[in-house]
Symmetry: C2
Subunit: 384 residues, 2 copies
């Protein structure tokens, strides 16, 4: 059985339904992957994620390398055992975090360059304690091998969109050389914990059409199990993201899963990316927004599709956050109660809100898949 099965393609859009097979279970696509950066989806525990029927979650190589460290996770039998999650996990290589967290500190005026790139790899400092660390393509793969996610990512350089063309091209070419080195290292041991790990390559090239196409071609020609779209604007600038999707999709092979990294700031963005041919998404926004009291609802319930539960208009509102929702929060609690929990700054409110937004994203993808399989995806988008 191949890793990825393409089940159905929509006739009017690029949308597709598929299945990824892993040793920890199948993942039906399109799929939203809740982000558990530090081996926990913020405010939730894994029984919550089983109740939400999440088929895969994310964790982050950079964060887990710094704390608790890949050797500790390795010594206890890998991340699934460490966090008691027996379904698939994907780890991001940490390329994005090495550069973004390093740059944030530099912008805050800290002395000395926190991130130093050479052909072989990157020196960076921990955002936690300033300690020095180094990732090379090889060490980032070894680190992810020890952590033991089912799907791991190539180590790439995520260039900011405002970098000049010359630098963006250089960085992309280096990322390509790193991609080949990642693959080579990966093939040395794809079953470290006794189950198979799959490696995805990442397309870079910022907002430049020629670079994106070149990168798509290069990454597609390598023996990756899946293809990801990286870059600062992916998910945070949907117009740019949709352009990039149009450029690269004709180049990427049909028989590999496609992952847009960081899409999901707005539920509607997922549908745009699905239309563009994407199978997998992750984004911290649904849980981060939840912790700020922003709750997703349907268009019928609010024209902006989100409520600010802190708004006093909800203080006596006994209806559920969303009448159409079947999550634990909506089945048990009213807007008035959630409003009170946020007003009283109770941690339980953060969790109930996170459960709702995570359910919203997971369920949106379940509904989208059903619509694709029934050849009703265009209609589904229109109604949304």
């Amino acid at each position: 059985m191949s890793f990825f099965e393409l089940i159905h393609e929509d006739k009017n859009t690029g949308a597709r339904a598929g299945i990824m097979h892993t040793d920890h279970g199948d993942i039906l696509t399109p799929v939203f992957m809740p982000v558990g950066t530090q081996a926990t989806v913020k405010t939730l525990d894994q029984t919550d994620l089983y109740n939400l029927d999440s088929s895969i979650i994310l964790a982050n190589n950079y964060h887990l390398h710094l704390r608790p460290g890949e050797d500790l996770i390795d010594s206890v039998g890998g991340l699934h055992k460490f966090m008691n999650w027996n379904r698939p996990i994907l780890t991001d290589s940490g390329g994005f975090q090495v550069f973004s967290l390093g740059l944030q500190k530099e912008q805050k005026g800290q002395q000395g360059k926190l991130v130093k790139i050479d052909e072989d790899g990157v020196n960076f400092r921990s955002h936690l304690d300033g300690s020095s660390h180094r990732f090379t393509p090889e060490s980032a793969i070894v680190c992810q091998r020890k952590i033991g996610a089912d799907i791991i990512m190539a180590f790439d350089e995520c260039t900011p969109d405002n970098a000049d063309y010359k630098y963006t091209k250089e960085a992309m070419e280096r990322t390509h050389r790193w991609a080949s080195r990642c693959l080579q290292e990966h093939k040395k041991d794809v079953n470290h914990h006794g189950y198979k790990q799959f490696l995805f390559g990442i397309i870079q090239g910022a907002k430049h059409e020629d670079l994106r196409k070149e990168s798509a071609q290069y990454i597609s020609n390598l023996d990756f199990d899946g293809i990801a779209l990286g870059g600062e604007s992916i998910g945070y600038n949907m117009e740019a993201t949709e352009n990039i999707l149009r450029w690269v999709m004709p180049i990427i092979p049909q028989n590999k899963p496609r992952y847009s990294m960081g899409v999901g700031l707005d539920p509607a963005d997922l549908l745009k990316a699905v239309s563009g041919g994407i199978d997998m998404f992750d984004c911290v926004a649904p849980t981060r927004l939840a912790r700020h009291g922003m709750l997703f609802v349907s268009t019928k319930e609010d024209s902006k599709r989100r409520l600010n539960i802190k708004n006093s208009v909800f203080s006596k509102d006994l209806s559920a956050v969303s009448k159409e929702c079947s999550c634990l929060t909506c089945k048990n609690y009213s807007r008035a109660y959630l409003h009170h929990l946020f007003a009283a700054q109770e941690v339980s409110g953060l969790r109930l809100a996170s459960i709702h937004n995570t359910h919203f994203m997971l369920d949106l993808m379940r509904q989208a898949r059903k619509a694709i399989l029934e050849d009703k995806f265009s209609e589904f988008i229109k109604n949304f």
Copy 2:
């Protein structure tokens, strides 16, 4: 059927097993009541409390009066509906909070006396925004009537242990007059939300034997549904608490439930109070300690009966917090994982720790009840 049924008395100690019958269900005693001050047990939601099989929870009249306000809770049909908890609730009248939170602010050097007591009631300022409020015995009962707990408490003055004898006696006598007024107000409407509310009186008198006995006699002579022990040292100074129990128990009637307010700083304290004849306990300590990473275990597992999960010795420890525990946390997660969640300052760790400590207290009382019914309570204490 009477409110309280005494089922069995231990032959060697004062321990007893009973049942309280309320319109929201029975409460088997002795019982630990998790504290949900602001209509939520911190970090948990009510489905957690059902899973823990908690038979009753607490909320606080002072806090709910300030936020969201008793009129709001009344307008949505009472606290059970507001928070979706269909089992019994007890509200403390807020006497303790009016005085303790007021005094805390005074000690911090804020100008003007924040708490002003007269024969009719108390003026106090909100600890949230400094706004002025007033509770009289009557208004504290009306407030609790609107909130709608199954068991409500008389409004009392909780005198500090370092107050002089004269003031303590005056305050106690005023609390007695207030107790009678609370009863009178309560009888006007005991079924406000369509189910019966029960009112408990509170014995004061600080550390003075004659005052405690006088207070026990006075409160016992009134038509309260239950008798509570209040005061600064109750639960926080177990030697003093045990003395007070010895003084008052011969005076309190057998056929009413007995509640020691604030006992539970250490699980062993519950057993001491049960031995002294107490049926009901509440304490914020189990969940507060949990949020600081202090987790209860058996004597066999740690001589101090608690672990500091933040200790690095647990970083690779794959065993459960307690091997003897059947809570969600111990069934699913290791000490190593909890250690990581606390190190990474993840909110999910606070909840998992709170679930464990709450389960520990609830289960300790379930086991104590079983031991009492089997005439093995002395043995049970010895083994603990």
